[in-house]
Symmetry: D3
Subunit: 292 residues, 6 copies
């Protein structure tokens, strides 16, 4: 179960509110590379963890819980960046006040609104929403929790890698020192989390534990295709050479090689459509045509 | 650009059609661990690849193209498993033919229909659809192509890891020798693809190239938090010990340590709601209340 | 604006309630071939119709309004089919009453529940929902209203064609005489609606009005590719011959022919990744690597 | 920021695992009436709360944090109900062990699988997922946080009302004493949460604070239509009489009355399609037709 | 069944077309606070209404039917606001005509396009679509119809409250007198509809009918938790005092109190992963490891 | 199975990169009128084609394969249009370089960013994504493959009609000669594909093969309603006259006529809510009320 402290994990301050940056920050909240995703992903991995050893369940709970605080920081940052957003499309004496103009770099309110997520104005009352920077709501099909620990750890590394790529892009786009400071903290945490999941992979066997899942008897797979790079160039041009098709495989269980793809199967033949299946008579054959 | 051969990459045959297995196979077509996902993911990574070196673009095109053939094999397998599916809910002399009964293990047609994806009967005419095993359509937000090569490679390993986990689960659920044979081929290809993306990671620096992205100057992140495991246990119980919080970090740039999380920020304070922002008068303060 | 009559457009009665058939009927409500789709599609086409002539706007309003009544009929049919559905998974004296057993063909309640849409029990209180037969909610991206009258008419024919295919499949699956009667009415209306949209196409020029849109000056398109079937067989096997690649084109503006596809473009070259774009240093080139 | 305790808020135990009940419980996790929804809804309302008075922000944080623990309890319950689920579709000596048979009430494994969410077997490794009981992932468009406190409180009452309706349906469907005990706790909490949000409505003015938002000057609305029930019966049959169209309005600002709807506007006239807008030539008029 | 009148319920006119306002109006059509939602919500509540008394079914039909006309008004308003939208991104003599410039406040066409929903130009031919103001299609999971009348009434109040909040925000953003007039009508109707659903709640028992559903025997819930506010502050700081945790409960069945949350359950223990379940060998234990 | 050539089907070049046009092009990739849709639609129609005659399966494979190359061309065009996009919101010496300014027509970087899809900057590293021009991901529910050949052909014509409408809109919006050249090729291919699917309809019987499906015995439908236009005008105003309600039907099987819609059914009566179904006591009747 869970507890809260009203204070933030790390300070969030905005000197110059910018509704366009508020929009960009949404990607780190409700984007597929964002914090709702990693938070729920680590929670569902913990809650469904099956193992004789509770170690990773425990560890996942610590980090999942930390991530709620990251969503909170970003949601706060979005709201602070929306403080001065124009509520009307029409320039007027009231709207064109010097504060707004200074804040937004002298833009007319209409221009500021054009770059905003419209729902920041219309749906949330100038606050964060669980959507990405183009307004698409987060959907939980992105919570990867496969029941396989190693597969999940790679999914977590991928999530933190794209998460840190996003955070550095936001850092580069940002101009507010408070926002740069907040992002420098989140980037550091993404560094740690990348390391953390890779450390679990190392600890549970690293390359030698591949392929995932390692509980499937490899003698049951068609092993002649297990370490072969298949080229599909129509002119039979060889694929580029690289570590991925030369030398021993990384799991130490095979040698990489390269072949040109060729059909091993036949042209597939499905049965004709059946009489009551809603097809055209021609698809059914004699019976279907007779019916007309 | 692209070309086709009408034959399949590998043989697909079904001795005993089973509509419930057709449903399960849909996960490997339209599930997030499925083949549409990896196919489009590798294509978008190739098409958007920015690098002075075209090597990985080329390589991705070979494998993306191979994956179209895997969707085709699975779509064929679904259709073949649906050959004898009952079209009516009502048992009748015609329906209760001995072939159906033998095929379905003596089930009444109604029972067979209960376990089916209803849209196999109603929407596709007994053929595959781009949906998962519970009928949810694939949506392309799952195509991860971040513009960062290393991040994308980890996403690809994750995709092939969960893909192979799925394929082995289908193998274990299957009873038809043709289906087991087809899956043993797809499992082997997943083995190779896991290796292949890991080989790219090794080739481009491995752990030493971390954290991702390696083009961001790490002196700009709050480095005091870059290699620290943060515990969130309410009773201050220490997190479990593991490689993820002891010893040197995997990128060789720090030492793992552990601290208990504590708030470093303050209670966030947002401005009150503004007069024309659709809030309740109480949220706006004096001005809002006056307005009533 | 709109008015209602509490009575149904056509009688809906169910003699033998069947929760599995209730599930199948959902496809005709919330499926992409269903009635919510055509209803809203015709409304949005009418409301956005731009033309000097209001004729088709008027006509679309008549039919869109009729379709609300079809959703109503189907929603009623779903609710009636759910009248006797078991509310518990556990067989008990109360549950195993003779009425239920007779209704459901002697099934145990648990079996009946297995074949149901779970949300019929859990979310709607034994009533229809705007979802398809596998429980996926209808989403309005399926409302096709392109602003081009001819394009929209073809979209409408397609909707009514797949709609009538679905309705006949439901007819074939049904066993209740009331349900067969209701469906025989809806099938007839789908017949009319197919005819109706095709009549508009004929009335506005038929094949001679092609290609759509006919307001684009065809001399601006690369006309050497406008009537050519492009083969993509890797072995250069000729495509099958048919009306689609022989004889005059249907719009009377060209002659069909066939060629084998060949690349006319070059290998695409994108610029390298830029320094602040979140890529790996290797993708950026000299500048990126220096930065590390 | 947030903290956790590894223990559950309330005990979760399952005596007789039932994969079909695991499926039904998913509605309370990832359904729109479920716990992910209320948890994130209360968090986003708290994080975006704008008011001179922090009271409701604080209060929302307490309850949002409690709700994480409810998701955790339900996720645990799903996993426990899946403990004995069959992994193969084929009955075999191994599979048909007496334990399974006893557990599942003597069902053949195939039947048990038919009633399951397939992704419990194929995607999650016998654990909970953030999806509803028909497998549709939760999507965050259901997080209502409008920036208007009173509007949000009504949304919260609605969420807890449908949540408690769902919980009682699950209670009625359940047969396991552990599950009934867990649900009796969650039902009690839903009782409290309904009361809690209604208490905020009362505390901030109750009916007198209507209509929402109360910060909009009602003299700006067309007040002749503010308390009028509009009938749309085509035969001009009067609507049923009730509190909703007789007596003083609940906000004390008007008297309810009833009128028959009549068009007050004209037939809408849109401009014709413009020459470069992709319409058919007929829609454009003279210019468009000339162009052909 | 249903009927139409070609005229609008209330006049819709636009003096100064504004494509950015067209975009904002989309929220009232296809947003979750919009008119498609309430229209379909009231229809599905009516069509699925189960009760010995048909009164509320009848009443719901009247209002659902009215709402179709509101979608129609808004769709008309969107199309009228798009009349002069630029079709090209490039300024040219033709495009930079004085009418456009005057209409759009002297903006260059490119700027006007930047603020538009791109699909207004590309997909709909300058007409409304069933999407929200950021282009996300409406999805019918938002149609709340639970089968519980009181729960549905609260959902309806919530929908009309957020709907009126949205309408007042649009009123505040608007500058066109025709648009302000149209919105003043819709705001008045939202006032009525809020009242109307609250009147049903009052008429069916009001607070005394709580908790919802009132057909569940409260002695079956853990009543010691039914009226208790649970604090989750990590430092055991008491929650703020308010009506929600002091005094008698609103249903008159209990007294509010406050406690600090404490775990009552244990650390959950799931069984280990099973041999054929796709987990890593380490998760399975002895058997899994042996298998390698 | 499939093969590739690294070169593009047709040249793609961009002289003046424009991030706003990159956004618009996304509609042709991930929009419902776009190329991912037709590509996958033709593939699924081919892979699921049931017919004694393999001709159309073969033909569909050729065209589906061609379409992959169209996605590739458009993805390349998007990336090239994003080459110079600003990465920061803040104008600076570096950013305000003359190249950018010339390219973007002298705009400030902030303005350019306002018109962009934010995820082009934040998620893809300046490359194409499988989303539409407003950032909504493509979802595969739009892959129409009904199992009925004629229905599918109409769906294909509709897809290519709306596809060509979109392509001509993009042509009209474009200002870059390279983009206009690429679009002139794609428009020509859309011309051919419209013709191609219509040719199949002609070849398989044209109007005489209607209604779809033609394998359903028309004597089973209520034929008195099969060729009747039903008016729903509340004032009984006759619908406009047209080919759709006068003369012989297009399938030659009936005569069009017109009637005014009238209810043929009764007011529907559902059973009351059942005791354990989560309804309010009033909905259940005596039993429910007693229970309280």
């Amino acid at each position: 179960m869970y507890f809260h402290d009203k204070r933030l994990q790390y300070p969030v301050r905005v000197e110059t509110p910018d509704p366009l940056f508020a929009r960009q920050l949404q990607q780190a909240i409700g984007g597929v590379e964002g914090e709702i995703r990693v938070c729920l992903q680590y929670f569902f991995q913990a809650w469904g963890n099956r193992s004789p050893n509770p170690k990773y369940r425990d560890m996942l709970l610590h980090t999942a819980t930390e991530e709620i605080g990251h969503i909170e920081m970003l949601a706060t940052a979005v709201a602070l960046n929306l403080e001065e957003a124009p509520l009307s499309l029409q320039e007027s004496a009231a709207e064109a006040n010097p504060v707004v103009s200074a804040v937004m770099g002298g833009e007319r309110p209409r221009h500021v609104v054009e770059g905003m997520l419209q729902r920041h104005l219309l749906s949330s009352g100038l606050a964060a929403m669980p959507v990405n920077s183009d307004g698409v709501p987060f959907d939980c099909s992105h919570i990867y929790a496969s029941g396989n620990l190693a597969g999940d750890m790679f999914a977590n590394v991928a999530a933190e890698a794209t998460g840190r790529v996003l955070a550095t892009r936001l850092y580069n786009a940002a101009h507010d020192p408070g926002m740069k400071d907040m992002l420098s903290f989140l980037i550091a945490r993404d560094t740690m989390h990348q390391q953390q999941w890779l450390a679990v992979i190392e600890e549970t066997g690293g390359s030698a534990a591949l392929p995932i899942p390692n509980s499937f008897d490899q003698s049951l797979e068609k092993q002649e295709f297990s370490y072969v790079f298949m080229g599909t160039d129509v002119n039979n041009v060889a694929p580029p050479e690289g570590r991925f098709n030369t030398g021993p495989s990384l799991d130490g269980k095979g040698q990489f090689s390269t072949i040109q793809s060729m059909p091993m199967g036949e042209v597939p033949v499905l049965g004709p459509a059946r009489p009551a299946s809603g097809a055209q008579a021609e698809q059914i054959g004699a019976a279907g045509v007779t019916k007309r």
